[in-house]
Subunit: 249 residues, 2 copies
Amino acid sequence: MDARMPTGTPQPAFVLIRPQMGENIGAAARAMWNFGLDRMRVIAPRDGWPNEKAVAMASGAGRLLDEAQLYDTTADALADCTFVYATTARPRGLTKPVMSPEAALADAAARTARGEKVAIMFGPERAGMENDDIARANVIITVPVNPDFPSLNLAQCVLLSAYEWRRATEAVAAERIEMAGAEWATTGDVEALATHFEQELDQAGFFFPDHKAASMKLNLRNLWSRMPFTRADVATLHGMLRQLLRPRG
Amino acid sequence: MDARMPTGTPQPAFVLIRPQMGENIGAAARAMWNFGLDRMRVIAPRDGWPNEKAVAMASGAGRLLDEAQLYDTTADALADCTFVYATTARPRGLTKPVMSPEAALADAAARTARGEKVAIMFGPERAGMENDDIARANVIITVPVNPDFPSLNLAQCVLLSAYEWRRATEAVAAERIEMAGAEWATTGDVEALATHFEQELDQAGFFFPDHKAASMKLNLRNLWSRMPFTRADVATLHGMLRQLLRPRG
């Protein structure tokens, strides 16, 4: 089994959401590259970009920071992805499948082998991910930690995910799968669909009463992101909505 | 599946060999406790013991340091163990089974469930383990890292091992095994046997020529530690050696 993984091989993007300490970004880069992953995306890092402390900590994996893609919002960072995982330890009150790192990265490896573009999100150090971010994920990844001491840090969480990716792809490599015929919707496609519905529903007075509007919108976003949509599905739903709103008669 | 793991549950000892930075010892304690492990042994830490920086870093897992057992030598630290794993990335030129973390910790879980006392060794940060230490292990654990960037640090190595322990014991819990009838030799038993043979062989002029003596001794130590000896086996071998040396006639 050749352990080498050329950087041209399709692989998930690891998306760091509003990371705080440069050291942690650097340590995350090292953890990724330890297992042959080099596609990092960074959303709104607290201390700006590039970050000297991240570079110092990443020694040997600095290339990942040089090549990292920077985004302002989670929606932008995920726009081209077809399937998204969010790592979080806490229950969120959102209906969403929860997978172990092993199951999730095996799933990610199978999807990647079929030509899908997947992303794995990691929340900021202290607060963890916000529900607005989680709602954009298709699946939640939860590490089976000691409930009396569940405090994994960012780089540890990245390390375990990258390790499971490596394990999964070593297994999948033997049974590589043909590209499936269907073309999956991207997160950007689903985002546009969600926005289309949200705007029209808002105008229709659906989000009522006012103090419940925010959580109703969140739950709806979450509903869309749970669905395994193809691009054709999304086009159909847009068409349905437009048709429903067309003046009668 | 209850994720809680009471500290009374049998579990492997994690043995840190001559660790250097207190921060790394503290981070290793955190990583262990993240997955419910709390039996740490420390051999000859560079900066003495207790170590303030270790305590500061361990926050929340400080109890592991308070309860850690301190030893001067690897032989002492392993004396009561029946099966020992050594984590190392580099090939060592010693004949020794090599396992992935997954396979090794599944093996460790099965042995622990049968009443064996197992230990997992982690080398010092920079240099890694010495061959003298490795030769005392029954099995080598190697993490399948990116060969272009294999630099896992101590706490990362501990984290992956503890994570695999957790995964393995969740699986084993369903099919707990009865205590086996045989009583395994401890590492201390095997050490005493190895020393007995080494001394007698030395007197017999076996380790010749002089410049090869060290590597011959290392290989012999390694041979003993590879064997799945029972206490009865060890007693038999001591007896055989004594008998062979008894004056004839």
